[in-house]
């Protein structure tokens, strides 16, 4: 693909007085992509989204949409539409009037407008609700009205500002799947702001993880999870254990990086497993809870083994999380095990064998 991305964000800076909210953001968002801006509150993700929508001026850099510089273009003239965190449903209008609001200035016959509103409501599963008063809707319905209202204008980009945060857990999970399906169906570029890493992993094609006004890592969900570029990203996305490690003095060779990991022992890692440059000395190794496998049958053959003591048990129904202190490690690690039929739960204080694989480790120097 040699086409330029649909949205080009080039060296964008934003100051609020002395506060440096965006520190040189550069990213390209492709046409038809489901792109997420993920980060803790105050990381600048909403500011960036509002800058794309045109509600925030940027202090430096530029934003191009479909090759056109958006500098000085007001929100009502941008090919973007925004779904607000509060949904911003107009309370004095009916559902159909809300959805059709953006068509007021369109050159269409009344019949065509009515049909378009009907189709938009149909698309979000609210076909029968056109005549309802907007303030009589539930949270999930408001969310759908906000989506239909934004999508009816067929924008090049749909921007979503934490659209699911006001919904309860069940509704949120349902809407995650539905949003994804809707995005594939309409083929419009979605840019989602969220602080929920699980939500971002489920829905996105690519995720930009932001900390303190900077993009820490921009990757597909799986790459982000398996190969976090920094300890901070690893901690933020899912759960990650960190074990102290020592990179050998002979250090980095053609064959890989020789590392001594507390609790796991000596091993050799590939350079791809070490974001940044590996250098001899103290380091840390990150390992996901599911990458440490409890050997319920001691006799199971495993190339790499470790031993530890179970300190704490957290039962989730389908999964159990064990807090295990590995022999030779200064603190405990989280280990997850799927609760399969016939598999017993471990006891507190029990000593267990664990299998692990060097390819699942990430080295942070």
């Amino acid at each position: 693909m040699t086409d330029a991305p649909l949205i080009e964000i080039e060296g964008v800076e934003k100051y609020y007085g002395d506060y440096h909210a965006l520190r040189g953001i550069t990213a390209g968002i492709g046409a038809g992509e489901f792109f997420s801006l993920l980060g803790p509150s105050g990381c600048g993700k909403t500011t960036l989204l509002r800058a794309i929508a045109g509600f925030e001026d940027i202090s430096a850099g530029r934003i191009l949409i479909a090759g056109r510089n958006m500098d000085g273009v007001p929100p009502n003239r941008r090919p973007t539409n925004l779904v607000f965190q509060s949904y911003a449903i107009f309370p004095h209008l009916s559902v159909a009037e809300n959805v059709g609001f953006g068509l007021r200035r369109a050159e269409m016959s009344t019949a065509d407008k009515r049909r378009a509103v009907g189709e938009a409501l149909e698309m979000v599963g609210l076909g029968q609700y056109g005549g309802r008063a907007a303030h009589a809707l539930s949270g999930g319905q408001r969310q759908r009205v906000a989506l239909a209202r934004a999508l009816i204008l067929k924008p090049k980009v749909l921007l979503l500002d934490e659209p699911l945060s006001a919904l309860d857990k069940k509704m949120r999970e349902q809407m995650q799947v539905e949003l994804r399906r809707l995005q594939r169906q309409v083929g419009i570029t979605f840019v989602l702001v969220t602080h929920d890493q699980e939500e971002a992993l489920i829905m996105s094609d690519r995720i930009a993880v932001m900390f303190e006004g900077e993009i820490a890592q921009l990757d597909a969900p799986e790459a982000l999870y398996r190969r976090p570029a920094s300890r901070k990203v690893g901690e933020f996305i899912g759960m990650m254990n960190f074990l102290p490690a020592q990179v050998g003095v002979s250090g980095v060779t053609q064959g890989g990086i020789a590392v001594e990991v507390a609790g796991l022992g000596p091993t050799v890692l590939q350079s791809a497993q070490c974001p940044g440059a590996a250098r001899p000395g103290a380091a840390e190794v990150g390992v996901r809870p599911e990458s440490l496998t409890v050997l319920f049958d001691e006799g199971t053959p495993a190339a790499h083994r470790a031993t530890g003591r179970v300190d704490e048990i957290t039962y989730y129904g389908d999964m159990t999380y064990y807090e295990i202190t590995l022999e030779g490690a200064p603190k405990s690690v989280q280990v997850s095990a799927r609760n399969m039929p016939g598999r017993r739960l471990l006891d507190r204080g029990e000593t267990v064998a664990l299998a692990w694989d060097p390819s699942s480790l990430v080295l942070f120097c």
Partner: protein, 268 residues
Amino acid sequence: MTARPLFIFAGLYLLVLYAPIVLLPLFAFNDGTVIAFPLQGFTLDWFAALLDTPALHDATLNSLIIAVSTAVFATTLGLFAARAATRYRFPLKGGIVGFIMLPLVLPEVIVAISLLVVLMQIGIDPGLWTIILGHTLISTPFAIAILQGSFSNMDNSLEEAAIDLGETRWGTFRLITLPLVTPGIVASLLICFTISLDEFIIAFFLSGNAPTLPVYLWGQLRFPARLPVVMALGTILVALSVILLMIAETYRRRGLRRAGLKDTGGFL
């Protein structure tokens, strides 16, 4: 029952508060020139007397002109101030808003005397316009208080959403902002009108030879024979005030309902 003394207290309190006002219509319809019990019988003479008193008609006209102008000016000023106070951040905002609200607690006599002194100094004769000025000064805080409620009940992102959907700033104001704060505007107009209609002290100091209704009423008190007529006029004024305030409150509540919000007690 430990609550009984409290009930008695509350009953007495209401009696002291409202009994004199109940006497007003009682003697307005009483067929006798002396304000004393026992009542003499039913008559509408006093209300009829109101109709053929030209001085009263002039005072009524003055009052209406002043009250309508005050309502419009105070509400317009309040609209700008309330929007600024709820939508924008600017230096010294707290101080400025506090300063605008100050007439709410200033003694009216002080306001009236100071205004009179200032107007005399710059050589403006007292009259309708000076009363409108004084009434606007004391009504604006009420307008701001009511309209601030309307604006702060309104989600900021509603205006942004309309602009995002392609509307212009003016279109957004007309289609979104105005319909949502209209009940507040109506409530503010009615309350400012009522405040101005009933106000006496400022009107008394600044009226010159154009008395308002309350000033006219006060003047009539010098003639004991006119007392029942004053009672009749007072009855009309009380009834009018109560009705206007009820309409204002109805509009305020309708606004809340339209915005889909819970009533949190409100201004009245």
